[in-house]
């Protein structure tokens, strides 16, 4: 039992040091990402590029899914995983 606990502690010590390393690297590179965002005026992350409303959920058409033609059925896999835009976004904050 003690041996098992010692092994677990060792594994978690290694993982924690990896986490600290990854976090330091992430923070060091954060400045570069912020420069790219500011200089290019970016509004979205490039995670899913298959449809415009999942490539640019913040800046694409507010009713982009289902608008390829009236009554169109959503067919992009990532479309199932993105929320519709915030209703207030259309007419400015606070309205």
């Amino acid at each position: 039992m003690l041996l098992l606990l010692a092994c677990l502690a060792a594994v978690h010590a290694v993982l924690y040091s990896h986490y600290r390393h990854r976090l330091t690297e992430y923070e060091a590179r954060s400045g570069l990402r912020q420069i790219a965002t500011a200089a290019l005026g970016l509004s979205d992350l490039c995670i899913a590029t298959e449809a415009r409303y999942t490539r640019h959920p913040a800046a694409s058409d507010p009713v982009a899914p289902f608008m390829d033609h009236p009554g169109a059925i959503e067919h992009f896999p990532t479309g199932s995983f993105w929320a519709p835009p915030i209703p207030g976004g259309l007419r400015g904050e606070g309205e």
């Binding site: 290019l40 970016l42 298959e50 415009r52 896999p77 929320a83 400015g92």
Partner: protein
């Protein structure tokens, strides 16, 4: 040593030996349980990391973005709109931008083309720092582009030194690659082609009097909501998007995304609770005999309940530790490869994420509450039933 503590240490000792006696059954429960926790924890780590990524990276997004809608679709913004916005008190700068999508028929990839006047953008002079190779073209330099790493790979795979794109009239426009973005910015720039705004107009055949949207910068951050309201009032067909709304969007999309996944995972968890209940509720003759012997030896119902509690706690604790450890390794070392097909869908281009799993106490507590507590709740009644087995009835069965 305190008598109560000694008693509990002895009970734990007995519980461990009891677990070991029924190791096949307990290991099977632990493996299934650890698998469920692994899935829940992986989703929480991924969505937490992506949300943090978005909030950090988009902190410097334009304070206000103005688009124009026509028939429910985004359309070009006349540059006159920019002049109207610039006349609003408190607006520091209005920068028109051209951007759009380009579908590459050879690879089936959707590319994002951006044309912007870097001299007018904040931190535009520092964009060189984000490049792994090459440098930012001189302002107004035509025919030279900055590209994300995936675009570079696509161009190389075609064996060409130039990036060739087609205008709407199918005439060809060729661009030399002046620079490639660093891998550190992959999550923002992987599918980008950044060019001079005049080149982008020419590529998309957009009128010189129009732009895709306007980036608006204000002097006082506190005034952003007020100015956004004034823009919306002055331009009735405009869609006004503030930086705060972009952040909110990302909190919502990933929250919903993880919520959608959680529905599937909760179904798996419910199935597991039923499985645990079924395993724990049927007292085997061996268990019945064990309880009887313990009672004859003077154990009380509370002692047997304590044994059952520790059994559940050790199995659940072991599964929680194994599941969360596996989830961390899955997300940090393998970039959440099990979820990648769902996250990126049919995307041809996807970035290397290098996620930092969100190891916050709140995240771990949430996972604990969603997994360990239902298991403990599902086993408490069977444990109580096993503890109140009457000695005489059990003896008659021996």
């Amino acid at each position: 040593m305190n008598g109560g503590l000694t008693k509990h240490l002895n009970i734990i000792d007995y519980t461990l030996s009891s677990l070991w006696r029924r190791r096949a059954r307990n290991v099977s429960v632990l493996v299934v349980f650890a698998g469920v926790i692994f899935l829940v924890a992986s989703f929480q780590f991924v969505t937490g990391a992506l949300t943090q990524f978005a909030l950090d990276s988009l902190r410097t997004a334009p304070e206000i973005t103005v688009q124009r809608l026509s028939a429910g679709r985004q359309t070009e913004v006349p540059l006159d709109y920019g002049e109207q916005v610039a006349s609003i008190h408190g607006v520091r700068e209005v920068v028109p931008r051209i951007w759009g999508y380009y579908f590459d028929e050879v690879t089936g990839a959707n590319l994002t083309v951006i044309g912007v006047d870097l001299e007018r953008m904040p931190l535009g002079e520092k964009l060189n720092l984000t490049l792994a190779e090459g440098e930012v073209p001189e302002p107004g330099a035509s025919g030279r582009v900055l590209v994300g790493r995936s675009i570079k790979r696509i161009v190389e795979s075609k064996g060409s030194a130039y990036l060739s794109l087609f205008r709407p009239d199918l005439s060809q426009a060729s661009f030399a690659i002046a620079g490639v973005f660093d891998a550190a910015t992959d999550v923002l720039t992987n599918d980008l082609i950044v060019m001079d705004i005049g080149d982008a107009r020419d590529l998309f055949h957009i009128s010189p009097a129009a732009a895709t949207d306007l980036c608006v910068y204000v002097a006082n951050q506190e005034e952003v909501p007020n100015i956004a309201r004034k823009i919306a009032a002055a331009l009735p067909d405009a869609r006004v998007l503030t930086r705060a709304q972009i952040s909110q969007t990302y909190q919502v999309v990933f929250g919903w995304r993880s919520g959608f996944a959680s529905v599937c995972l909760l179904t798996a968890l419910a199935a597991f609770v039923i499985f645990a209940w079924d395993k724990a509720s049927g007292l085997s003759p061996e268990e019945r005999r064990e309880i009887t012997i313990l009672k004859i030896l003077g154990w009380e119902t509370s002692d047997i309940l304590a044994v059952r509690f520790w059994e559940g706690a050790l199995v659940a604790g072991g599964a929680f530790t194994a599941g969360c450890t596996g989830a961390y390794i899955h997300v940090a070392y393998f970039d959440a490869s099990l979820f990648r097909p769902v996250m990126v869908g049919w995307s041809v281009i996807h970035p290397s994420l290098r996620l930092v799993p969100s190891l916050q106490v709140s995240t771990l507590l949430l996972i604990f509450c969603f997994t360990v507590l239902p298991y403990m709740a599902a086993t408490v009644i069977p444990a109580w039933r096993s503890a109140i087995v009457p000695t005489d009835s059990a003896l008659s069965g021996m």
